[in-house]
Subunit: 472 residues, 2 copies
């Protein structure tokens, strides 16, 4: 270890405690990578803060030694967010995992960043409430805020950014700020909530979150609807959305993915393109919605509709969907996961999904298509052999062609996984001159590049000549 | 006129056209103030851009002559947003009032910033759709985005920020950027949409907006529920929210305000504290919700419930609410309007409204209390004689006490009207060290202070010593 790093670790251990800072090789390896195909890289040390003040001390040390800080939740990133760039301190929030407050009358909770979504939902159930955002992984809420995660319910309840009323953040200069308030809405000052959610650790470390929660609806109805083609399924969703029926969740799972579901979950679902649907409301309203939904699905030549009337059946259905990425991982031992993540206006969705399937066929790759089709977001799940350069090349080509297809149609390169390392190369194309605005913000708030450097924005921050300002 | 300003106007007229830039005294006066009690101040000239490129030329000229730019919609601000600070170019978007595109399948529209909400809704009606945000005034959509406006429907559909998918913005250096995309969600790059919405012209001029729109619901039911006290009415709302019934709109109108409504609208509504309510859904669901709502209201000792079954009755009900500020203005000729605008967690609402009434009584001021109580936001409407210093002092004291009450309980000094000039003095107290982050962003994106200077943030931008960073 470099002399500078030895001194850093020693001082960190003095300021926190010996047990809270480790250079154990296994710990470093556990924190060097994520769940994706991105190449790992070891941090200098892993620090486990217990308080906001611990995080502040870590940031002070980062500044003193010029060693960057990488916030780490559960390492479930799919785009390399937690992979250190050069020598870095990884800040693991495992010891900051307390649910601090549940204020049912205000529909809000306060949590530490290391709380996972399943942990929060277990607690909220006691109050008849739930937290809406559900990415597949049981990620931490801090991590979910950092990437603006979403999931199956965002079509009704919105994405992570919509749930955040306030973040406590330790910024690059060690200040402790609050980005919002406890009020449900505000027009006061710049909307820092919106800016910090999705900033992927590049503007500071989140140390507390105030989140919006919802009452569990009176009635819930889930269904699986099978089609003979993916196109019919997607057209069906678009028709439901246009009919005014409020969908709470809608997921598309294609035929190969249904096979993986059955294999991994030991279910016996029909192996054809399927929509997983859920509706929330009161009993009478739901009954009317479901009848209308059935009529629309039949118009779109659905093959079968099966309802899940009880909680157990519903739970199994959504677990099947949530475990799909793991089903692929377990189904292809030795391979690594690449997941595409574009989102585009809903009218372009059917074409985009068809294009993705054509590309899979053309490149002779094996992969499944799934997605949160209610908001125009879908994924291709691909298992890659990292030792097969030709397969790697093809996978990269697939990802790139899917992104360019979406960008050409008003879409985005990432609907919910974030930029991390994997989507940096599309930032200029997607954001154009707005990228310079982002770089100026990063430069202003983190002038020494200490907060998760080389994520979202590339390292050449802030020194571009500004073409727009060249003449007047 | 100063020589510098003469040269500026001349060059602006050359770059746009003679008719698009005026120094006519009446025009200057029309653009020097807003609808509030804030003291007006005349701009140097008023420019009427027709295109984004016109706005870019204006910003280039602003930079060349060091003369700031003030974007102007309809002048319906209540906090002095459009009042020039020193010699400025007011940019009136009246000629940029085109609805550019309605994409019903994608639930989005593209509009120029000068389009008003009523103009948009008139067009959307043809498609069976509507735009949800409805502040009282028929403001422009550009202005509504600039202040993150909301209104009666935000309890269900969210505020202005929730509707903005993309803004085209001319920034301080004359660059034309897009802050988002056409996709419904994204995790790509920093969330500039969120930052620019509510930035009140201090980060750039909006030249095009891409907005989320909704289908008109199958069934709508509106009701007026009268109570013998404001406290009962507020408690009633909180109970409905907690019951899980999805309210689409809910407004509290107190007794003095109901009197103004009847006087101004020639209605014959009961003159007691009243909730105006609306529910959206399918027929069966709505019927169940309304029955449940009635039961809850009766538990809270409501005096009467009257339903509006047809469109005409509903329209009259909401017009009554929307025209309330004008009812006060017309009811007190010669006086000026001051409107408080705090928002706080819903559990604090009943106490805050009671406190506001006590303060009105203590200070012997005449005013009405109204508000979007579903999200914890309420207003005191006060008419002030600007020539009566004692009344002015008392009104300022009322506003201040209401703000401090809210801030002490996790609330915000402005729920929807914005900071402008009027709420600047509370920014430090509300945001603490986060205010420095806002100032750094302003400094990075508008280093010469050309974009609506001295709004939101005070002029002493960016040069504070940073206490947090002082030691490590």
């Amino acid at each position: 270890m470099e002399e500078k790093h030895e001194a850093l670790v020693k001082e960190l251990q003095e300021r926190l405690s010996r047990e809270q800072v480790t250079v154990n090789e296994t710990a470093l390896e556990q924190h060097g990578g994520d769940e994706s195909y991105h190449s790992p890289n070891l941090p200098v040390c892993v620090a486990y803060p217990k308080t906001t003040e611990d995080v502040q001390q870590i940031v002070y040390m980062a500044k003193k030694y010029g060693t960057p800080v990488i916030p780490y939740g559960r390492g479930t990133s799919l785009e390399g967010h937690v992979i250190p760039h050069g020598g870095s301190i990884t800040v693991d929030f495992a010891l900051m995992d307390q649910i601090l407050e549940v204020r049912e009358n205000d529909f809000l909770v306060k949590v530490q960043p290391g709380v996972t979504r399943s942990q929060l939902n277990k607690e909220l159930k006691k109050y008849g409430m739930f937290f809406t955002v559900d990415p597949g992984a049981d990620a931490t809420l801090g991590g979910m805020a950092a990437t603006n995660a979403s999931g199956t319910t965002s079509v009704k309840y919105g994405v992570m950014r919509d749930q955040v009323r306030d973040l406590e953040v330790v910024t690059a200069d060690g200040a402790i700020i609050h980005t919002g308030s406890e009020a449900e809405k505000s027009s006061s000052g710049y909307h820092l909530n919106g800016l910090f959610v999705g900033s992927e650790g590049t503007l500071g470390c989140f140390t507390e979150l105030t989140l919006r929660v919802y009452g569990i609806p009176e009635s819930i109805m889930a269904a699986r609807v099978s089609f003979s083609s993916v196109a019919d399924a997607v057209d069906g969703v678009v028709s439901i959305l246009q009919s005014g029926i409020e969908i709470a969740r809608v997921e598309l799972v294609d035929e190969p993915s249904m096979q993986q579901v059955n294999k991994h979950m030991e279910t016996n679902y029909k192996e054809s393109p399927t929509l997983f649907l859920e509706f929330h409301g009161n009993e009478a309203g739901l009954k009317q919605d479901v009848e209308f939904m059935k009529a629309i699905m039949e118009e779109h030549a659905c093959v079968s509709i099966e309802f899940e009337h009880d909680t157990a059946g519903r739970t199994q259905l959504w677990e099947a969907r949530h475990n799909l990425a793991y089903a692929y991982v377990h189904g292809f031992p030795g391979k690594k996961l690449m997941v595409t993540d574009v989102c585009l206006p809903i009218s372009g969705l059917a074409g985009a999904v068809a294009h993705a399937r054509e590309e899979l066929n053309r490149l002779e790759l094996t992969g499944g298509i799934v997605g949160h089709v209610g908001d125009g977001n879908f994924h291709v799940l691909l298992m890659m052999d990292l030792n097969d350069p030709e397969e790697m090349r093809k996978a990269a080509e697939l990802n790139e062609n899917i992104v360019r297809y979406a960008l050409a149609r008003g879409g985005t390169c990432t609907g919910e996984h974030g930029v991390g390392i994997g989507k940096q190369k599309y930032q200029q194309e997607e954001h154009g001159p707005a990228l310079l605005v982002m770089k100026k913000i990063k430069q202003a708030l983190d002038p020494h590049g200490l907060m998760n450097p080389n994520k979202i924005l590339t390292a050449d921050t802030g020194d571009e000549s500004n073409e727009a300002a060249r003449t007047y």
